[in-house]
């Protein structure tokens, strides 16, 4: 386990480095972007004087490096901002304040996270069930007509951009059949039943897309383990096929699936932009696109860092999970 701890620590350090580079990249990018955040924050009819005032207010007059240093300081030590009549404190992992509306970026992120989490976690559960199930089935029926059918179906799922799947699902379930409400995000805390009903279509869209990938991965991984010697051992000892597959083959096939799940979940926590846009889910991805458009640097940096954090974290978790699940893998 010490090996594992050290490995985890090393990955963590690398992750921090990656995040730092990410934030620098975003800052750098924003300096070359056309458009003036102060102008965008102030509104089109602001006078030049007003824009200048706002620019000072936002600290955009400072040299680029000073701004970045200020950002880092806020991140590690927190920062204060004037509300006019007093000051507002923004505690230690402070990502700054939105240019657009002066809100703390951390609280903005916290507001968006539940929607994204609802979308990703639900979709994940669904695609794991559909994907792994299909994968196992087609591995078992290897070479048969069932496998070919399943392969065709999964290929098809994999082949369509998510917003088309979404539209087709809406057409079918909302317009033609009328079984489902037109999706509209309702927070879980507000009404769990409505929350689930409204998320069914977004979940399905993502799950159809993703489960295709998982089915393919599970299938090939399963075929690998099914041809492994230890599976043969249990067969040779009269263990039932069901238990050979369920206990031994599936178990061996799972590590890559786990690894991929962690990675996908990471990416998805960064916001499934297209899905969120299509279904109007107020998640991280949607606000990311919005804030890039309004050049709301603090929000963009915050979102990119959160996304990056989840992706890098998921990468590391995937590797650790993989190593734990399969001790044969040497941690490198």
């Amino acid at each position: 386990m010490t090996l594992l701890t050290r490995f985890a620590l090393r990955r963590l350090l690398a992750a921090l480095l990656v995040l730092l580079v990410l934030s620098i990249a975003v800052y750098a990018l924003f300096y070359v972007l056309p458009g003036d955040p102060a102008r965008l924050a102030c509104g089109p009819k602001c006078t030049a004087d007003q824009v200048a005032q706002v620019r000072t207010q936002l600290g955009l007059d400072d040299p680029a490096l000073a701004q970045y240093a200020h950002f880092l300081h806020g991140l590690f030590a927190g920062t204060d901002i004037s509300t006019g009549v007093g000051t507002e404190h923004c505690g230690a992992p402070c990502l700054g304040f939105s240019y657009q509306n002066g809100e703390q970026v951390t609280s903005l992120l916290a507001q968006r996270l539940p929607a994204t989490a609802s979308l990703s976690l639900g979709a994940m559960a669904l695609w794991l069930v559909i994907g792994v199930g299909t994968g196992v089935l087609s591995a078992l029926r290897h070479g048969g007509i069932t496998e070919r059918l399943l392969t065709a179906v999964t290929l098809a799922g994999n082949a369509v951009p998510v917003f088309i799947i979404g539209i087709l699902l809406m057409l079918l379930f909302v317009s033609v059949l009328g079984w489902l409400p037109f999706p509209s995000y309702v927070p879980l805390t507000e009404d769990p039943e409505q929350w689930a009903w409204n998320l069914v279509l977004p979940w399905l869209s993502l799950a159809i897309l993703e489960s295709a990938k998982y089915a393919r991965l599970t299938r090939s991984s399963m075929l690998d383990t099914l041809s492994e010697d230890h599976v043969r051992t249990f067969r040779a000892y009269g263990v039932r096929e069901r238990s050979v597959i369920g206990r031994h083959a599936l178990r061996g096939a799972l590590p890559p699936v786990i690894a991929l799940t962690a990675l996908d979940l990471g990416t998805m926590f960064g916001g499934a932009v297209l899905t969120e846009s299509l279904f109007g889910i107020p998640g991280l991805g949607k606000s990311l696109v919005d804030s890039v458009r309004t050049e709301d640097l603090p929000v963009v940096v915050g979102l990119v860092l959160v996304t990056g954090f989840f992706v890098v974290l998921a990468n590391a978790v995937a590797d650790v999970l993989y190593a734990v699940a399969d001790r044969r893998v040497v941690l490198a």
């Binding site: 924003f30 082949a159 990938k213 393919r216 991929l260 996908d264 297209l274 696109v289 990119v304 990468n315």
Partner: protein, 330 residues
């Protein structure tokens, strides 16, 4: 990066390229798979359509950018006049709502952009990915760490954000398709690089590379002679899956309004403007969606076929000779 993760997942890379087939054999095995063959046929057909777009449009007698105010009903929000989205002898596949532009002409012209961007972006991704992956796999620890972390950053970048930002930075005069190729290519090589690095690392430890070193071959020669041919298999497989994902990405960017510039038609752009019309004029959605679907399907089938054809398990194995004490090490 999704497919890359699958391919680059530890363990998946461990397949030593034993008995891997050469190009001739590859084609023979590919030919044996009906799905892959169908994929190839569809791709060839689509490429032909793209190349002959002006010819096909001329045959129909339509210009992809010409408006036909009379073909749509202004009072009804601009839905095409006539059934199935305004299908007629003049407009073989109907017209675009709101503008009355000819759909057939736009679809065939759109093939140029969609396929062109899909293929070209893949080339950029593969070239960059192979270069970085090889360098990381062959370089010393420092270089490897540097490049691997860079790859991590690439994979962690929210592609869309940077695509939006990059598209905003570049002067408006820059040809948009080229720009899209560059954006997709420059932001999307992480997966390839990871696969290539993993493969390089596992190949590097093989005895034939050691033999080449003993024979006096330098790094570059080893990379070229011993590694690249073996890397070709996973890279080709992966590229076949990259093409459709790039086509889908172009569609996605267009969906967010940052794809090719109007009036240039692309399937993605058509699809994105069609999304609001799916109830009032389903034909308008189904045409580009169907085409993208078929294309992506064809490439995926081809990719799968290549993967199967390259799978050492598909051929007869010479495992028996490798028995003996192999695998004895705990």
């Amino acid at each position: 990066m999704t497919t890359s993760d699958v391919l680059a997942a530890p363990g998946a890379a461990s397949d030593t390229p034993e008995a891997a087939p050469g190009a001739r054999q590859l084609w023979r095995r590919l030919r044996a798979q009906r799905a892959a063959l169908a994929g190839v046929a569809v791709i060839v057909l689509l490429v032909l359509v793209a190349l002959a777009a002006p010819l096909l449009a001329a045959l129909e007698g339509q210009d992809p950018d010409a408006y036909h105010a009379s073909a749509v009903d202004s009072a009804l929000g601009g839905v095409p006049v006539g059934s199935f989205g305004g299908v007629s002898a003049d407009h073989w596949l109907g017209v675009e709502p709101g503008t009355g532009r000819d759909l057939f002409a736009r679809l065939v012209y759109g093939a140029r952009i969609s396929l062109g961007i899909g293929l070209a972006a893949t080339v950029v991704q593969v070239v960059l990915g192979v270069a970085v992956g090889l360098a990381a796999g062959l370089g010393n620890r420092f270089l490897d760490n540097l490049l691997s972390r860079t790859t991590d950053v690439m994979l962690a970048l929210p592609t869309l954000v940077f695509a939006i930002a990059l598209l905003a930075i570049v002067p408006a005069g820059f040809p948009r398709p080229v720009l899209l190729v560059l954006v997709l290519g420059l932001l999307g090589w992480g997966g390839t690089s990871r696969i290539v690095r993993a493969q390089t690392l596992s190949l590097k430890s093989l005895d034939y590379v050691a033999a080449a070193r003993l024979g006096g071959a330098g790094r570059w020669r080893i990379a070229r002679r011993e590694l690249l041919p073996s890397l070709a298999a996973p890279v080709v497989t992966y590229s076949a899956l990259l093409v459709p994902s790039n086509i889908a990405s172009e569609a996605g960017l267009s969906f967010l309004g940052i794809g090719v510039k109007p009036p240039t038609p692309s399937w993605g752009q058509m699809l994105s403007s069609a999304t609001t019309w799916y109830q009032a004029d389903p034909t308008y959605v189904l045409l580009p969606a169907g085409l993208i679907f078929v294309t992506v399907l064809a490439f995926t089938a081809l990719g799968d076929g290549v993967r199967t054809a390259l799978d050492p398990r598909a051929g007869t194995r010479l495992r028996a000779v490798a028995r003996g004490r192999k695998g004895a090490r705990p």
